[in-house]
């Protein structure tokens, strides 16, 4: 399948996937990236920094996730450790419900009996 169609599919899911990972435990950018690559099978095996980090930034600006800065022992820099805000928890629930309906609807079309 052409890359542009794959990207369109993935675009819709990333926010929900990131919120879901952050809901499981407080985590930081590189760990999130690695988890997506590990758990995402062949679909997300090559998830990139240029995709994931901007979404984390946008989710923060939207008030769905928050962070605390933790000094990084290895190199003297800092890491942002993310967690969901109250709004983020609500949004994740709404997204999950929508996803279930969306899945059923699209499956219906694919089977030709919507």
């Amino acid at each position: 399948m052409e890359e542009k169609y794959i990207q369109q599919f993935k675009k819709g899911a990333y926010e929900m996937i990131l919120l879901s990972l952050i809901a499981q435990k407080e985590t930081y950018g590189y760990e999130i990236l690695t988890e997506i690559q590990k758990q995402g099978g062949e679909i997300f095996a090559f998830a990139k920094e240029g995709t994931i980090y901007p979404i984390l930034y946008r989710l923060t600006k939207a008030g769905l996730i928050q962070y605390r800065l933790v000094p990084a022992k290895a190199n003297g820099g800092e890491k942002k450790y993310y967690s969901l805000t109250g709004e983020g928890k609500d949004m994740l629930e709404k997204m999950k419900n929508f996803w279930e309906n969306y899945k059923d609807c699209v499956d219906g079309f694919m089977k030709g009996d919507a």
């Binding site: 590189y30 920094e49 901007p54 290895a74 942002k80």
Partner: protein, 146 residues
């Protein structure tokens, strides 16, 4: 391109507050530090981040238009100066335009000799050039479609 150059290029593409720019730069430092911790080279990380303009756009803070390239900047300056000069010259030529009935109204021969006998009026030339300069300027400075 190295880490600092990449970060500088992204910063140039950002259209947001100073505080937000600082946060984005901090985030990029963290991305490079984390990548380095896990054995990635700067060029590998840069490849994973994508082009600076695309990264800035993905954040939601990208500039609407590209900054003017060097050549374009020079062209804009020339056209602006040229256009202003033409407008000035147009104004001057209109000020010194001879009245319609200046010739032929006298009772006797005069010693006035017309020096400019070109078929085209200088006002029209300067006016036309000024219009061309302004149109070209608008064309060069137009916002590119996203």
């Amino acid at each position: 391109m190295n880490r600092e150059t990449y970060i500088r290029k992204v910063k140039k593409q950002l259209d947001c507050s100073v505080k937000e720019k600082e946060e984005i730069v901090r985030d990029l430092q963290e991305i490079f530090d984390s990548g380095k911790e896990h054995g990635k080279s700067e060029s590998q990380i840069i490849k994973q981040l994508g082009k600076p303009q695309a990264y800035a756009q993905a954040l939601g803070c990208g500039r609407q238009t590209m900054p003017l390239s060097g050549k374009r900047k020079v062209a804009v300056v020339f056209l602006a100066v040229g256009g202003l000069f033409c407008l000035y010259a147009l104004g001057e030529s209109l000020r010194f335009r001879m009245p319609k009935n200046a010739i032929g109204g006298g009772d006797a021969m005069t010693m006035i000799v017309l020096q400019n006998s070109s078929p085209v009026n200088s006002s029209e030339i300067f006016g036309g050039l000024a219009v061309i300069c302004m149109v070209a300027l608008v064309f060069l400075l137009r916002k590119k479609k996203k």
